[in-house]
């Protein structure tokens, strides 16, 4: 009871606890996420993503008139308490904010992977005209980014008639 009524507990103890918790759990989760991203990127390496506006005419395996279907993937990723604190501190000095860099990198790669996963499921051989959009779902307050959403979308091209490899629809 005496600890809970001590203002120092609320003003220093709780934030420090959250920062330590955020650091320990947050960095473990980030490492695990990167491992999973790298593993899936290795599997999907043979499904190219290109940002040209037309399906390449000589793409191997696609006839002159491939079937096309829109595919998309998105991810909402949040900073942990420690990195949020670090980023706010960095804002005082300016310069490179690595905490935000890894946040955006993770979200973007995750969104691309989900889009490619969807394309793989319908048996696509390439995804063209890929666009990415980033939106900040502000939760940090005071103008800081805390949570971002990345959306990746494009058009998957598959052989006409569909060879039916793992087709979902």
């Amino acid at each position: 009871m005496s600890v809970l009524s001590n203002p120092l507990f609320w003003q220093v103890g709780v934030p420090v606890f959250l920062i330590v918790l955020g650091y320990l759990v947050g960095s473990a989760r980030e490492r695990a996420h990167y491992r999973s991203i790298l593993a899936r990127e290795r599997i999907l390496r043979d499904l190219p993503i290109i940002s040209t506006r037309r399906v390449p005419e000589d793409f191997p395996g696609l006839g002159p008139a491939p079937e096309t279907r829109m595919v998309e993937g998105s991810a909402v990723i949040s900073l942990d308490y420690f990195k949020r604190f670090l980023a706010q501190l960095k804002m005082l000095f300016g310069g490179r904010v690595t905490a935000y860099e890894s946040l955006i990198d993770r979200a973007r790669r995750e969104a691309l992977l989900r889009m490619r996963g969807e394309a793989r499921a319908i048996g696509a051989s390439v995804i063209v005209n890929v666009r990415m959009e980033t939106a900040s779902i502000s939760k940090g307050g005071r103008g800081a980014i805390g949570t971002i959403e990345v959306l990746a979308y494009g058009t998957a091209a598959l052989p006409a008639g569909g060879t039916g490899v793992g087709r979902v629809r």
Binding site: G22, R29, H33, V55, A65, T68, E72, S74, R131, A135
Partner: protein, 104 residues
């Protein structure tokens, strides 16, 4: 209905342009989800509930766009784009738009 981010349909020709069609929806996050997300904010990582909320909303925007395209007699929507804008604290509008055409 062909929905595509390309400006053409491979192997087909566009026979008529019917103008822009769009679909949108405004969604707010609900309190329970927001509370859980608040907890998740301490340890960071993916906020699965929000990913789901936004992709559901986007699917609905696309569906409304297709409905509008059908209403004007189109059989394809080309050059589709998405846009997200936050209308108020805690609410977001998701918009999908494209050009309705008939292809043959």
């Amino acid at each position: 209905m062909i929905v595509s981010t390309l400006e053409y349909v491979p192997g087909k020709t566009v026979t008529a342009h019917l103008g822009i069609v769009q679909g949108s929806t405004v969604r707010a996050k609900h309190l329970g989800r927001d509370f859980l997300a608040g907890l998740k904010n301490i340890v960071g990582g993916e906020l699965g509930a929000y990913t789901e909320l936004l992709s559901d909303a986007r699917a609905e925007a696309l569906q409304r766009m297709e409905q509008q395209a059908r209403a004007v007699g189109a059989n394809a929507v080309l050059n589709v784009r998405f846009a997200t804008s936050s209308v108020a604290q805690g609410a977001a509008e998701l918009l999908a738009y494209g050009t309705a055409v008939t292809v043959d």
